[in-house]
Amino acid sequence: MVTNVTNFSRSGLSDWLIQQVSAVILALYTLFMVGYFLLHPELDYIAWHGLFSHTWMRIFSLLAFIALSAHAWVGLWTVITDYIKPTRIRFGAQVVLIVAIFVFLVWAIQILWGA
């Protein structure tokens, strides 16, 4: 058993499962967005604003952002632990990663519900 404190869920199994599930959510959101752009070739602000005024679209988007946050945390934590060996620099990079994810997530919530 290898002890870890900066990965997303403290457990490798749980991290792995979250990455699988979040990947599916992100794939669905990407497919939806690509489909939407294909069906609306002449997209304007009114239509875009209309799409995001639906509660379901906001929930779907927030779900995708949370999935992206978890996915990025698990994935980049893995990359950092692979390639950065000095503990201080590695821990510093992990803190920057986690703070950045937090900031982007709160920002995304503000954009979704602020308009």
Partner: protein, 234 residues
């Protein structure tokens, strides 16, 4: 004439490793890479490599042959040599003791960690613990591993974290005991493996499957371990 380029390093006399060129006459025959090494040993007796059974059973002569890990004794020149050029290097990612000999300490340490022996806390029967033929079949493709380290030393996850990631060889054996109907320590074994490194550092790139000289599939065994962890935890 076969052009052979070999990684040489003697820590007592060399300040850094270097590649040495040899010319070997195989008389046009398709011999094994180990035969070439023996011919080179006649030219330069200071060449160091491990070997023992010379038939792919002992796992001593794992090395990097033209960029791919394999056992020198069962790799024919025709399978690896193009344009009469052969390059031999030690297994990647492990400390070099001398020439093609590597220090396998950390590899064995990971093997030891998965407790590669049968554990059973029930009273032993008078003669032996029996298995049905179906139960025995589950061990096929797992028990044949000879611990040559070709797989683990071709795995980037093992290169970056050999102290934390068990590696394909160790995990294949971990599953060999998890799959054994006579073993009763599955829960304890799985508890040791659920952290983010031991099993989950595997990204499924299947280098291990590509190089295994015995044709085994560690990636599938790792998938089965993940399934067992899931069954236990959901």
């Amino acid at each position: 004439m076969l052009q052979v380029s070999i990684y040489r390093y003697n820590p007592e006399t060399d300040s850094a490793p270097y590649m040495q060129e040899f010319q070997v006459d195989t008389q046009g025959r398709d011999v094994m890479v180990l035969n070439v090494l023996e011919l080179i040993k006649q030219q330069d007796s200071s060449m160091a490599y491990r070997r023992s059974c010379r038939e792919g059973v002992c796992g001593s002569d794992g090395m990097n042959i033209n960029g791919t890990n394999g056992l020198a004794c069962i790799t024919p020149l025709s399978a690896v040599v193009k344009n009469d050029k052969l390059t031999l290097r030690p297994l990647p990612g492990l400390p070099v003791v001398r020439d093609l000999v590597v220090d396998m300490g950390i590899f064995y340490k990971q093997y030891e960690r998965i407790q590669p022996y049968l554990q059973n806390d029930t009273t032993p029967p008078a003669i032996e613990r029996l298995q049905s033929p179906e139960e025995r079949d589950k061990l096929d493709g797992l028990y044949e591993c000879i611990l040559c380290a070709c797989c683990s030393t071709s795995c980037p996850s093992f290169w970056w974290n050999p102290d934390k990631f068990v590696g394909p060889a160790g995990l294949l054996q971990a599953y060999r005991f998890l799959a054994d109907s006579r073993d009763t320590a599955a829960r304890e074994r799985l508890a040791e493996l659920e952290d983010p490194f031991s099993v989950f550092r595997c990204r499924g790139i299947m280098n291990c499957v590509a190089v295994c000289p015995k044709g085994l599939n560690p990636t599938r065994a790792i998938g089965k371990i993940r399934e067992l962890l899931m069954e236990n935890a959901t």
